[in-house]
């Protein structure tokens, strides 16, 4: 049997996890984590110049880029926390380059999005240059990674409550759930905007081997304190289901729910009349 000639080998990497339980849950709620100006300025400038000369894709083979961007300590620590040990480094880099000024894009989630609690890969955005509002930073809609939508049916959405603009200084990196809704904002300045995107993926089964908090209580933590878009109770449930999938053990969630049945009920912490399930509760 012949092999696909262009297939690239997996490049596994490892480091210490840096995210705490609360930070992992934050990712599950919002679908992104932000790391401001973590890449040194000389690396940003080198990347910017390199892209102009060689394009962005060869960057994945440049040691200085791999060490300072793909393996940037706080970012790689977060990737390690979410994807486990021996996470795979990106095998491709795309550049969402735009000549400003430019109109805004339509809202979309990227092709191939899958919906559910699984976190098997992470889509990452890196700004190698200052990207203020005038340069058309990406807008993202927090929590939308849980909202099933067909890309071709999102084009008429425009202003969305609670959507945020990722204006950021050079060297900033966003880790996102692949299915998060996003778009390029309109730009009013003049110049070239580079935005590099690439994905890491998981090579091991999920387990809670990030930085465990001794006082993190599964049964009382507020899974979604401020609510997210979606049907009643699905907001906290979707975030919790993703969190416990990452833990590799959803038994605490089943204990909160009282079994695998529907409905998911009131979010924790439950108290007084909202206490559910009662002791001895069973679903059949």
């Amino acid at each position: 049997m012949s092999q696909i000639a262009s297939m690239q080998p997996i490049r596994p990497a490892n480091c210490e996890p840096t995210l705490t339980d609360s930070q992992v849950l934050e990712f599950c709620r919002k679908g992104y984590l932000f790391f401001e100006a973590v890449v040194p300025q000389e690396v940003n400038e080198r990347a910017f110049d390199f892209i102009a000369e060689h394009g962005q894709n060869p960057l994945r083979q440049e040691d200085w880029f791999v060490q300072n961007v793909f393996l940037n300590p706080p970012v790689a620590g977060a990737v390690r926390s979410l994807l486990g040990s021996n996470f795979a480094l990106p095998v491709g880099v795309s550049n969402h380059l735009v000549e400003c000024p430019a109109p805004k894009q339509n809202w979309h989630r990227d092709g191939g999005s899958r919906y559910g609690p699984q976190v098997n890969n992470l889509q990452v955005f890196y700004y190698p240059q200052d990207t203020p509002a005038e340069m058309g930073p990406t807008e993202i809609y927090p929590g939308s990674h849980h909202l099933f939508a067909l890309q071709s049916w999102m084009g008429h959405y425009d202003r969305i409550r609670d959507a945020i603009r990722t204006s950021a200084p050079a060297g900033s990196i966003f880790i996102t759930a692949y299915s998060i809704w996003h778009r390029r904002a309109a730009s009013t300045a003049t110049g070239t905007r580079n935005l590099l995107k690439y994905s890491y993926w998981r090579t091991v089964a999920p387990k809670r081997d990030w930085v465990a908090e001794s006082d993190f209580d599964f049964s009382t933590t507020e899974y979604v304190p401020n609510g997210l878009p979606g049907q009643q109770f699905r907001d906290w449930y979707d975030a919790a289901a993703m969190f416990f999938w990452l833990c590799g053990d959803d038994r605490p969630l089943q204990a909160i729910l009282g079994g695998k049945g529907w409905p998911m009920g009131y979010p924790p912490p439950r108290s007084g009349a909202n206490t559910f399930p009662p002791e001895g509760f069973q679903r059949f």
């Binding site: 909202l147 939508a149 959405y157 425009d158 202003r159 309109a186 878009p229 699905r234 979707d238």
Partner: protein, 85 residues
């Protein structure tokens, strides 16, 4: 000329809170304010009171699966018409 107003809400109620808005006036997509406080309407009802006609209510056939949340809430499409030229 047909002006259009797409409004996404968190329920099918006409006075439900808004999740999103798209406005088309004189054949152009108009930039709605970033801050929801400054949106031209805070409910579908307010838009109706301002002369907008509902041309499509949320399509309930799309919302029948409790196990999954589809799209951005419930969508109303409204129009105003005015003579061209």
């Amino acid at each position: 000329m047909q002006d259009l107003l797409y409004i996404q809400t968190n329920s099918t109620s006409l006075d439900a809170g808004l999740l999103g808005m798209t406005l088309v006036v004189d054949g152009q997509i108009v930039d709605v304010a970033e801050d929801p406080v400054d949106w031209p309407y805070q409910t579908v009802l307010e838009a109706i009171q301002d002369g907008w006609h509902v041309v499509q209510f949320p399509n309930l056939a799309l919302l029948m699966d409790e196990s999954r949340t589809y799209g951005l809430g419930c969508e109303f499409i409204l129009e105003k018409t005015k003579p061209s030229g």
